[in-house]
Amino acid sequence: MRIRLFLFFMLCADISWSQTFKVDVRMIEVYATVSDSRGRAMTNLHSDDFHVLEDNRLQQIRVFEPQSSAMTIALLVDTTGSMAADLPRVKNAVARLLDAVKPEDNVGLFTFANGLNRLSNFSTDRNTTLKAIFKARAAGQTALFDSVAQLSRQISKDGGKKAILLFTDGDDNSSVLSLEASVKSVQRTGVPIYTVLYGSALKDQRLSQRLEKISVLTGGIPFKVKDAGGVASAFARVGEDMQNMYLLGYQSDSDNQDDWRSIKVTLPNHPKLKLRAKEGYWR
């Protein structure tokens, strides 16, 4: 979790006035997934193996956790007009998925059609999320690429291991962003997108390829689920995948006034390993 520490030093002299110094020190969290050339997760790395650079300056890693338990999951459900037939089944699938989520995991529910909508805030209260999903109605066009870019940006501001689980049945037809621009935006935030193709969408080859691209390039996994039971097993796989993330924390003392601060994580001693991490953060 990103921690904003406000350190107040009260210098109290024996005279009648005092002066306050305010120092803003931020703990920046970076989650990194490392795999070998065959795509197998590498779980035996140490803090010294990683280099973290912010705006090209090497940072000192203060927090290192090879594994962490709690996750923040954004469920993103397509509620466009084309989902009218499949939406009831997706709602049931989401209900199944909520059963499979660990009690300590935070789940937020979002839908998209012409734009992104938040149906429920991130919480561990499954009933709230469940009630929210059953209120969703299908209408409008599909701004899929815009929605994933906006959602990844939104949740990247909060701390914790994060992932987006996307349920959709239809191809994008109204986004401002292209698939490539959207993927690039998500890559910058380091939030993996796990896509779930469900129902009639399984027959759409182009959509299948596009979702696969989104998943693979953002570090998630594409799933093709035939029935509601498959959703739970897919989610179990998501949880397993997220377990293999390294948490790297450092204190940023950058005085860069730009909104965007770039981060680069490298493994200087393991050049053949593939590393996935966010490319920066918004101040």
Partner: protein, 677 residues
Amino acid sequence: MDQDGNVRFPGSGRVWTIANGGSQTLAEAQKLTKRIGHAGSPDAEDEILLSMLDQKNEITRRKVSPVEKFLAVAKIDAHRKQPMDEAMALTLSRMYAKYRAIFPYFAAISSLNSDDVTTFARAAERIEKVDEAEMNTVLGEFHSLIQLIVLLKETGKLPDEKCAQLFSFVSAKFAGAKTSVDVTQAAFESAENILRAAGRRPEEDADLFLVHAFSGDASPQEFWVDGTLHSIDFSVRNKNRMKEVFRLQHISSLDTLLRMHRAAQSLAQVSAAAAFGRDAAAEAAAYPEIELNASKLLEATDDSDVTSSYKLRREISAESRAEIERTLGKLKKQFSMPQPSKEIPKLAAKLIEELNPFIKTTLVGWIYAFYFSPQDLAIGGDRYFVRRHTFYDRYRRQYWLETRPATDPGSTGNYLTGGFAQMPSAVGYVAKTKLEAADSIITSQREDAVVTAGLAAIRSVPWNRVSERSIHLAALKLRLGREFVVRSAFDPEMRKELGRVTIGLLGLRRRFDLLQALGASDVNGALNQLSNADFFFLADALSTSPVSKRAQSILTDAIAHETMVVPPHQVDYFGGTHPGIDGCAQPHFTRLAPYEEYENLMFVDPLAERLSDILLYAADAADRLGLPVQGLALLAEPLLQQFSLQVKMSHNTDWQSAIEAMRSIDLVPLIPVLDRN
């Protein structure tokens, strides 16, 4: 029509007796111009109009009616201070079929004459012959330079007459360009000339100058609203906004490019200088200047893992720092030789040519920086958005297109196509989606056109030019319009006058309902029939009507007082943009047909443009709240978002619901936005 109800023919009536035929070439137009003197003018204007109705010319597989041409030229004429001459009217009528998409440029610069338009046509004909590989670059430069002139006029940096001269200068430069180097020179020299005319000092940084020109002086303002003190400086925010657009889109600085070009040009003269015994070494001192600035050039690079389209890759690869560095390496080698070499001017010319894609991106970037925000998803989420702009239709060989958002076949994601003549409308479409979902303006398809037109109107306002009291003047005029209606309920003579001035302002049914309500002293019923634009024009009509003395009040005195200190055109900024129905993309009020006239048209855009005056409602609300212009500028888009959430149109022509939602907009809940960084 003029005040006596006669048709005002642009040029003269006789021009329109010969302004038919399908030829589009400049030579044909010039031949016809010589015939104007011999053309007889039919006595009756009806005869001319009827003869136009009888004809239709097929041009580029599209039937163009002379009436269509006549209306387009008449719209330009209506924006001019001086009526256009016969030659200009005829030239424009001949250009219509091919160049109608860029006619708003001619409306924006009202001092253009027939020579300027002819020079423009020569430039256009020359550009159409440019090599396919360079077409997008050259069109991008040309459109950007023309639009830069228009924007500098809008922001108060160039007087209209100067704009016309610069328009002609740019056109002449492109018309005379024979080689790729000439085209690049034309772009650089035009940019230098425009900035100089706008007041840039020789050593002043070109980017800082433009940022300042588009945003005005920094002027922090403190004001109380709703019991809270707020402090904002819209100018500073505007400057940061533009810089951020440049940063996000990886666009090279204009100043860097201008410096490189100047230095390269002096290098191109080294050999000639040596031949005339001048100090070639001094000229060669330009080399370090080029080397220094070359290191500052920015180029967008394609990602290895996220593949882009072929078209985009071509645009990106056109800007090549590597090529420039190679040429610089060769130049350096030449300078290490004891004698100036003949190769130096050739290499300098090559360097100038290599700068062409960079200057195009930078000039286009400045137009985008004026209209877009880094908070727009297209800008913040797609770093190639500016470079994606496609200025012509390669497959149909159409070079002069309206500005529109487009999507590649089989793909998604928007980019803009065409020139910049309708830029606000295209921006309005794309900029509804923001980086943050919560800030996005999401609508259903029914309301989309109206919201897009509203955003276009907001984005086209040069806020640094809007004077503090313009809000108050607009609000006073609205009050006077309402007062006219209220007094008409109790004063038969004023009611009669109201009946007269609402002819052509309101649809027949609405006018009938209005007068019925007034006859029954139903004031609320009468007021509900009218929009703020209606009140605005009623106030104008009242001030020139025979009953104006009867309407004398504190309100009319206040308006008289305000108009002494606020130029009347200041309220134009709240009038919306009407590129389609009025042929002009700059925000202003214009007496348009009633809403009812647009509701049965095939496309919804004309009605949406008619409803684009949301800022008039915003100004009214701001005046009641005591909000200064800077505050209104900051709250305009959140207010449009509020409108989009409130409006419930039953279908996309349900203008009554749109007006009702505009009436209910409320600035108070948006006040916290003022303190948001």
